[in-house]
């Protein structure tokens, strides 16, 4: 009577528990983007607060539209062009998934929107590296190109069932929720853009203080909350693996934060608020690739190691003198690399046993090789691709703000507004 009913009966049934959790996760990951806007927005100078927050918000608009048009098809369609990315006309404008239920028991719309949030937050993370000196128009073009040409292929390689990193080694390169795809690619690309654009005017000889650390703290809090969707949602289920990822996430964030203020307190004498939230982020970034495979001890170790490495990376940055303004590379790049490589030493035994079953035998060293290769591929692809995009784009739209616009501030120059009105009598 209803052809659609016959069609639907071939499909897996909806698992309402999993679907409910995935819907929640979609909302949680979306919450991270305003969280990131507040985190970054509080760290820049007053004249750039809105421009910086707009970097995150603009990504929500641009990347969502692109995701529907081509992102989902490129990331999760079957291999084309030798596996460079995927493509499926079914996914163009999401036209073919209107009634699809996935094997995991969730509507494909939910999965597609969940993944869309990752495509939004990754370019928004990059913006931290070149804050306070980029033209808004060029930024919009940059993230559109970057998302299409760098993010989508990387996402395809790591997470699509026919991606080559997904099938590397016995059980694939481990990247549970985006250590390579999101954090390493964003951090490395940010570093490339920061070096390409050069430092801000008056950097580093004039001190540039954060305009509102309170906002930064709230933003970091939202990121931490949202990260449960990011990591625990990446199990694409609502069960044991969700609980494992959620627990690892909480532990790594807390361990990272504590490690940071202890290191900082010992080294500089004071435990700063910004240090605490930097540690939270370092821990969360490091646990992102690992959340599905490590036990609490491993999560704690990764959080502590990430804070140690990121702290040193930021000290080194100050020595080297490049202007990675909000430490997109120092936290996301380094934290992601630490997590993706060192997670090998904390993989739970059952995972190694499954890998050994699949391949005959499998050792930690072999998995370490797979992880290192995946990291290396992500670094080189992101760095090289970003450099090419910058060179081409810069010929069409100058990426760096004019000296005048940079001095007036992004808020006034590109948006015609100001962030705070409280200091004016009217």
């Amino acid at each position: 009577m209803f052809p659609a009913t016959v069609y639907a009966s071939d499909m897996p049934e909806i698992d309402s528990g999993a679907t409910a959790w995935m819907l929640t996760s979609v909302a949680l990951v979306l919450l991270m983007i305003p969280g990131l806007a507040m985190f970054y927005g509080g760290l820049v100078r007053t004249k750039n607060v809105l421009g910086t927050m707009m970097h995150s918000f603009a990504a929500m608009g641009i990347m969502t539209v692109l995701w529907v048009i081509c992102g989902y098809a490129m990331a999760f369609g079957p291999n084309v062009l030798g596996g460079w990315f995927g493509w499926s006309w079914d996914y163009f404008m999401l036209a073919g998934i209107d009634e699809t239920i996935m094997d995991a028991g969730i509507p494909e719309y939910v999965f597609s929107m969940f993944q869309a949030k990752f495509a939004i937050i990754t370019p928004a993370l990059i913006a931290g590296a070149f804050a306070e000196r980029v033209s808004f128009k060029a930024y919009c073009f940059f993230i559109a190109l970057w998302g299409t040409l760098i993010y989508n292929p990387l996402c395809h390689w790591v997470w699509a069932s026919d991606g080559f990193l997904f099938n590397l080694g016995a059980k694939g390169a481990i990247d549970f929720a985006g250590g390579t795809v999101v954090h390493i690619s964003a951090g490395v690309s940010g570093l490339v853009v920061a070096i390409f654009l050069g430092g801000r005017k008056s950097f580093p000889h004039l001190p540039m203080r954060p305009n509102n650390l309170v906002m930064t703290m709230i933003g970091a809090g939202l990121l931490w909350v949202g990260w449960f969707g990011f990591n625990a949602g990446s199990s694409i289920s609502s069960g044991l693996s969700t609980a494992q990822a959620l627990t690892a996430t909480q532990i790594a964030a807390a361990a990272g934060a504590l490690a940071w203020i202890i290191i900082e307190g010992t080294h500089q004498g004071k435990a700063t608020a910004l240090g605490f939230v930097s540690g939270v982020l370092a821990g969360l970034v490091a646990i992102t690739p690992a959340a599905g495979v490590v036990k609490p001890v491993g999560a704690m170790a990764l959080g502590i190691l990430a804070s140690g490495f990121c702290y040193m990376a930021i000290l080194l940055k100050n020595r080297l003198g490049y202007d990675d303004t909000l430490d997109a590379f120092g936290i996301h790049g380094i934290g992601g690399i630490v997590g993706a490589i060192l997670l090998t030493f904390f993989i739970r035994e059952s995972w190694m046993a499954e890998a050994a079953d699949a391949a005959g035998s499998w050792t930690l060293i072999q998995q370490l090789g797979v992880q290192a290769l995946a990291v290396l591929i992500a670094i080189s692809y992101a760095a090289f691709g970003t450099w090419v995009i910058l060179i081409v784009l810069n010929k069409i739209v100058p990426i760096r703000s004019s000296a005048e616009a940079e001095m007036r501030g992004l808020d006034n120059s590109y948006h015609g507004e100001r962030g705070y009105g409280m200091t004016n009598p009217n």
Binding site: K47, K201, S202, L206, A403, E404, M407, R408, G409, N412, H415, G416, E417, R418, T423, N424, P425, N426
Partner: protein, 114 residues
Amino acid sequence: MKLLIAIIRENQLDQVREALIDAGISRITTSHVSGHGRSKTEEIYRGQVVVPNLVPNIRLEIAVNDDFVETTCNAILNATTAHDGGLVGSGKIFITPLEQCIRLRTGERGPEAI
């Protein structure tokens, strides 16, 4: 001794400060003030163009000995005109005589205390 009060654009504080430091003047006081000069700064909120009648500015107060007055004024002038694009409303410098100056820590008075 003279007291210089300069009202400048908010966004020019950095370069004025750099120019002053280059000229050897590092002891300054700044504050956020609002005021109305000849400038018309447009801001846009949801498509509405708004011209605030009081716009934020920066007020610098610099106490100097007489032979530094010109150096200080020139530093501020050069820094503000260099990047202004001929816009109206760059600000002003007021110069007033300064009767006395006392350093709190030591109690020194006069030109030595500046």
